[in-house]
Every structure is written in C-alpha cells, then in structure tokens.
C-alpha cells in the first residue's frame, strides 16, 4: 500500500529564511510524488511533481523538492520564505493505477515577519 508521512504538523520560519517541509513515503514500487499547497479558504494547488524523471524537481514560487529513493523521502524546500508562503502543505503519493492519490496529514507553515 502507498502512504506518506509528513514529519512536522507545524513549521515556523522567519521571513527570508529557508523553508524545509519533510515528507517520507512508503510504496512497493516507484511512485509519483507531489506537493500541494492550500491557502485559507482556497482549493489545493499543485506546487510540483516527481514522476521518475529528474530527482530534483522545481516547482512554482521558488519551491523545489528532491526525490531520494534510498531515504524514501521527498522533502520540500525554498531558499527564502515569503509572507505569502504561509499555508498548509500536503505531500501526496500516487497509487498503483497512477490515478489514485493519497494525502499526508499536512504541514502548516507560518512565516514570521
């Protein structure tokens, strides 16, 4: 079965400092992995996706994530946090059919001015 574990439920960073949101996955095969962002009262938006191409994936708004098979991790990073990055972030793994998606429990990012 496929699953993801988001290691931190809440992360606080100061504006202009790096962001690290951690995600570990469990899958019996090579998965597709995604990060989605959810701003308050808004729908979920795709930040980036890994689908077995380059292991370092660049997304929107300066975010990137690195797929590390040996560590079964897909951590999300950003060099410099902006106030507008404050939101809920979800790590997602695809299922065996490729069109099923399993969400982590989310990480709430707070950016301190």
């Amino acid at each position: 079965a496929q699953s993801v574990t988001q290691l931190d439920s809440h992360v606080s960073v100061s504006e202009g400092t790096p962001v690290l949101l951690r995600c570990n996955y469990s899958s019996s095969y090579s998965p597709s992995l995604f990060w989605y962002v959810q701003h308050p009262n808004k729908g979920l938006q795709l930040l980036l996706k890994y689908t077995s191409a380059a292991t370092l994936v660049k997304g929107i708004n300066g975010f990137e994530a690195e797929f590390k098979k040996s560590e079964t991790s897909f951590h999300l990073t950003k060099p410099s946090a902006h106030m507008s990055d404050a939101a809920e972030y979800f790590c997602v793994v695809s299922g065996t059919t490729g069109n099923q998606f399993y969400f982590g429990t989310g990480t709430s990012l707070t950016v301190i001015p």
């Binding site: 989605y36 729908g43 979920l44 996706k49 695809s94 069109n99 998606f101 429990t105």
Partner: protein, 115 residues
C-alpha cells in the same frame, strides 16, 4: 480555462438532516474525485469516477453517503442523514483520464457544519 466549480461553498445543517453538494469538473476531464477533509487532517478519498462509472468507493460510508455522475460530467454528493462527524470540507477534483499520473485540479470546496 474554467476551473472546477463547487456549490454551495458553505452549509450549516442540524444532525439527521440531509445535504447535497454539486461539482462541475474542468471540461473534458474524465476522472472526478470527491474528498473529505476534516479539520487538521489531509483529504481522504470518498469516491472516484471515470466518466459515469465508479472506480473506487471503498471509503464511502454507503449507509449515509451517495454520489452520482449520471452523464459523465457534473456530480452530486449527498449525505442523508448527517452526523456531527460529517462536519468537514468536501473537495471535488478532476483529472484528464484514468491512466494519468499528473495533476489533480481542485475546486475551492464545500464546507459543511453539522450542529
């Protein structure tokens, strides 16, 4: 391109009442999903449609929840009777097709409060 449309955005009902949510996916998207997102949790899949057929409804509480997508386009999710634990945001999402490992497109959700 128009996004996924959902209505109503907010609904407050008493327990044991019924409620229905509507979703219109992106035009041409064959796969439609309903997720339940309880406060503080990640979205949980309730049901997945491919055109007007059900692909996965294993986590749908069928004694009280029902969903349909009659013409393979828009969809309705119904809860009858509602329980307090049904308070959640109901998210609709769509994607182009079954063998597709890319992006899900989400609506803004329908927030249900059961009193």
């Amino acid at each position: 391109e128009a996004g996924v449309a959902q209505s109503p955005r907010y609904k407050i009902i008493e327990k044991r009442q019924s409620v229905a949510f509507w979703c219109n996916p992106i035009s041409g998207h064959a796969t439609l999903y309903w997720y339940q997102q309880i406060l503080g949790q990640g979205p949980k899949l309730l049901i997945q449609f491919q055109n007007n057929g059900v692909v996965d409804d294993s986590q749908l509480p069928k004694d009280r929840f029902s969903a349909e997508r009659l013409k393979g386009v828009d969809s309705t999710l119904k809860i009858q009777p509602a329980k307090l634990e049904d308070s959640a945001v109901y998210l609709c999402a769509s994607s182009p097709g079954l063998v597709y490992t890319g992006e899900l497109f989400f609506g803004e959700g329908s927030r249900l409060t059961v009193l």
